[in-house]
């Protein structure tokens, strides 16, 4: 066996005031999946940028098949057959699937003319290779999130890479799709590709990887063979301390009266006849595969989308919620899964973001009560252990976990008694994950009614008092905590 496909030697990168990477060494062999894990801020993103040519290291060496290279940009990385599947979807919504997949390396006819027919056929072939049936001529803007993710993966594959980097590829996929993706990765691996797999989902990491490298604070903590490695051991490597399982946050509670009652709501061709109720002090999860429309149900409850039929009752009173503002006034809070897109105003300060849902309360004759606003924000920062240097810090400068805490804090400040949480731990590192679960349990402990949507079934089973299962817009199952069973719930996914 010759030189590794990719070698990083003593990579160092500092940003003003921060050492992002300190002496990082990493290698990848052909036909292996090498996972890269670490808490947010551990340096994974910087390392990926270095590999992708977006960031130039201060020192260190990169070798590809033994040859030193300078990756001065994404183009150079691609030329060295190193491709990256981005965490966030970086696609052109106005272009077709095929055009997106082959963007930058389209087949050319004479005089540089485009060749749409060839392009579509090539895209079809590539989609076929990973057993996906998707019309290559469709506009990406019309696709679902999951389908877009597949386009993103195909785009990386289209460059016929030797090294393929997956950055949190499953963040928005459900278990079924994750299984599919891992299957694709296994296939690629069998074809002799080297795969770098970055994920917070340690189960997947243990499942798919051959080796794992753990980063902490810009240092490599260790590189281990996966065989014989357990999740707990991996977590302690990452956080440098023992980790309590997600379940630890849960404790038995007394339920109060029904806070939120949804009676047979329907929306044409989206969901049909959905009923549920959440009592005070109860966490109710809605489980389901992507496309089960539970997000649409949550949005309708929050007034962000309309319903055609049915009734929503809050604390026993029927309400017609036509906008989020009315829902908020009725006491509902909503934590969207897409933190950056829907949860936060990134160019605004931590303090302003925390106060966003209580502006009316913070005003006297329209003037802002600054002391009170700061006091509230301070209390929340302390309570939720948000790591910030001051309330003036911009939300965009925080890590994912801390950003999520702000999204939660915003609704704690509001103090409504019904909370809808959509994927509250998406893309959040292990340490913060635990804190976030504790906070959510704390909300229920205080007597709030919590409606939880998360893509990871295990997390949901750890956190919820009850779970509803939805499939294709209908409720297909109903489980109390004592009856939780992954098999039984999964069975309802396809019912």
């Amino acid at each position: 066996m010759g030189a590794p496909l990719l070698e990083l030697k003593s990579i160092r990168k500092t940003f003003p005031g921060v050492v992002a990477l300190a002496d990082v060494t990493f290698d990848l062999k052909a036909g292996e999946v090498h996972a890269l894990v670490g808490e947010n801020g551990a340096g994974k993103s910087t390392l990926l940028s270095v590999m992708n040519g977006l960031t130039a290291p201060d020192s260190g060496e990169i070798r590809i098949q033994g040859q030193p290279v300078v990756l001065s940009g994404p183009t150079v990385a691609l030329a060295n057959r190193l491709a990256l599947v981005h965490q966030e979807l970086v696609l052109c919504p106005n272009l077709s699937v095929a055009e997106n997949i082959f963007l930058g390396r389209e087949p050319k006819a004479r005089l540089g003319r485009g060749n749409r027919v060839a392009l579509n056929r090539m895209a079809e072939d590539l989609l076929g290779e990973i057993h996906v049936n998707l019309d290559p001529a469709r506009k990406v803007g019309e696709l679902s999130l999951n389908e877009q993710q597949i386009v993103e993966i195909c785009r990386a594959l289209a460059s016929r890479p030797r090294v393929l980097v997956f950055d949190e590829p499953t963040a928005s996929l459900n278990d079924d799709q994750v299984g599919h993706l891992l299957g694709i990765i296994r296939k690629l691996k069998a074809n002799g590709l080297g795969v770098i797999y970055v994920s917070h989902r340690l189960g997947e990491v243990l499942d798919i990887s051959d080796r794992v490298t753990v980063l902490r604070d810009g240092h490599v903590v260790g590189t281990r063979e996966i065989a014989g490695l357990h999740e707990a051991a991996l977590v302690s490597l990452m956080v440098g301390r023992e980790h309590k399982p997600g379940e630890a946050a849960y404790k038995e509670r007394q339920y109060g009266a029904v806070a939120l009652e949804v009676k047979a709501i329907s929306k044409a061709s989206v969901f049909d006849d959905v009923s549920l109720e959440v009592r005070a002090g109860e966490i109710v999860g809605i489980a389901g595969l992507l496309g089960c429309q539970r997000e649409a149900v949550a949005r309708s409850i929050f007034g962000a989308a309309s319903i055609d039929r049915g009734e929503i009752r809050i604390r026993g009173k029927a309400v017609a919620l036509r906008s989020p503002r009315e829902a908020i006034r009725a006491g509902i809070g909503f934590m969207p899964a897409d933190r950056k897109g829907e949860g936060l105003v990134l160019p605004m300060s931590v303090g302003d973001n925390l106060g966003m849902a209580i502006l009316r309360r913070l005003g006297r004759f329209g003037l802002l009560k600054r002391r009170q606003k700061n006091a509230t924000a301070n209390e929340l920062v302390r309570k939720l252990a948000i790591k910030v240097s001051g309330l003036f810090q911009l939300a965009s400068q925080l890590s994912g976990g801390n950003q999520q805490k702000i999204v939660i804090g915003k609704w704690i400040a509001r103090g409504g008694d019904i909370v809808i949480a959509e994927d509250p731990t998406r893309g959040v590192d292990v340490g913060a994950k635990f804190e976030i679960w504790c906070t959510i349990q704390g909300l229920a402990d205080e007597g709030k009614a919590v409606l939880l949507l998360t893509t990871e079934l295990q997390e949901m089973m750890d956190a919820c008092d009850r779970i509803l299962v939805m499939s294709r817009g209908r409720v297909t199952g109903h489980f109390d905590r004592k009856d939780f069973s992954a098999e039984a719930i999964a069975h309802c996914f396809v019912a």
């Binding site: 990256l84 389209e106 006819a109 749409r116």
Partner: protein, 342 residues
């Protein structure tokens, strides 16, 4: 990859294209204008009036074409109108400065330019491309917001136009210039043919080639284009160079018709160019639109105004109509898109 054959018979694409065309409201609008024009005025469909119409389309169409390419990348170019005059001014001033060096005098009888016109045209085109490149470099490499960068160019170029000419007009009376401005070829004004030529080249490039398609990618999601290994900055500069070139060609057509160039000409035409591109369906947010649709937009715009002019409608009411049509056309397309989505 090499085994793939080019197997797109043109016929198979023509029919859906025509069907699309028939569904396009702007096509119906143009048809309506012509029908109403023909019915209400005996002069509307005369050769002379149609020639006028084509000449009007040529200038505003050329400006809007350049604007369209820039808008496709999700940016804007406010400098087009100032640049269109500036490029010609530079052409003439440079040539008159060169003249004494080679012992001739090309500025006669006041400010009539009597020197060779081809170099003026070439310098104008170069100037247009160069200023476009400066705009593009400012936007792409120095990351100045395009609105600001081109607003600065607009202001500076307008100032330079006066500084360079001292406020004097230059007369441009070369036969070639006259030919461009006034002559016809096969019954069609040369200026309009020039516009059609630019249009065809741009359709071929933007909609036909892989490189041209990248304007759409950049406008759709610039990061995606960047991550796909496309040198987006170079394409942004290219878009501005195209816009600058279109402005210079528009300047040639414009001043060939007036046979002179004057510092304050074409004030405010940048906003007209934006309006036309938008009426043609180009999205300000980038990634949507095409040179072909800008042709429709400019024909609709010019034909509508021409009809009002034939009717003798006062300018104020014309302006009122432009404003309302602009808002309504975008509003209606927005609503229809919403409807088709839901």
């Amino acid at each position: 990859m090499s085994a793939i054959q080019l197997s797109s018979p043109s016929a198979s694409r023509v029919i859906p294209f025509l069907l699309d065309l028939a569904r396009d409201p702007i096509v119906w609008l143009i048809a309506l204008i012509f029908v109403v024009g023909a019915m209400t005025s005996q002069y509307y469909l005369t050769t002379l009036n149609l020639e006028n119409l084509m000449r009007n389309v040529a200038v505003i169409g050329l400006l809007s074409l350049g604007m369209t390419v820039v808008l496709l990348t999700g940016r804007i170019d406010l400098s087009v109108a100032a640049l269109m005059i500036f490029s010609i001014v530079v052409g003439v001033v440079v040539m008159t400065e060169i003249a004494p060096l080679i012992g001739s005098r090309w500025l006669v009888r006041g400010n009539t330019y009597a020197g060779p016109i081809v170099p003026v045209i070439l310098i104008a085109l170069t100037t247009g491309a160069a200023i476009g490149a400066i705009n593009g470099i400012g936007v792409a490499y120095f990351k100045v917001a395009s609105f600001i960068m081109t607003l600065v160019s607009l202001t500076a170029l307008r100032g330079f136009n006066y500084v360079l000419t001292d406020g004097h007009p230059y007369y441009l009376k070369a036969p070639l210039y006259q030919w461009i401005g006034d002559s016809k070829f096969a019954g069609i004004p040369v200026s309009f043919l020039l516009f059609l030529l630019v249009l065809l080249v741009l359709i071929g490039f933007v909609n036909g080639t892989v490189r041209g398609g990248r304007f759409y990618a950049i406008g759709g999601n610039e990061k995606a284009a960047l991550y796909a290994g496309i040198n987006t900055r170079r394409y942004v500069v290219l878009a501005y160079v195209i816009s600058g070139l279109c402005a210079a060609i528009a300047g040639i057509v414009f001043t060939a018709r007036l046979k002179s160039v004057d510092a304050p000409l074409a004030a405010g035409y940048e906003l007209t160019a934006i309006a036309i591109a938008v009426i043609g369906g180009t999205a300000l947010s980038g990634g949507i639109g095409s040179p072909w649709r800008t042709l429709l937009g400019s024909v609709a715009f010019a034909a509508g105004l021409n009809l009002l002019a034939i009717w003798g409608v006062g300018t104020w009411y014309q302006n009122l109509a432009i404003g309302i049509v602009l808002i309504a056309s975008v509003g209606l397309s927005k609503m229809s898109r919403k409807k088709s989505k839901s």
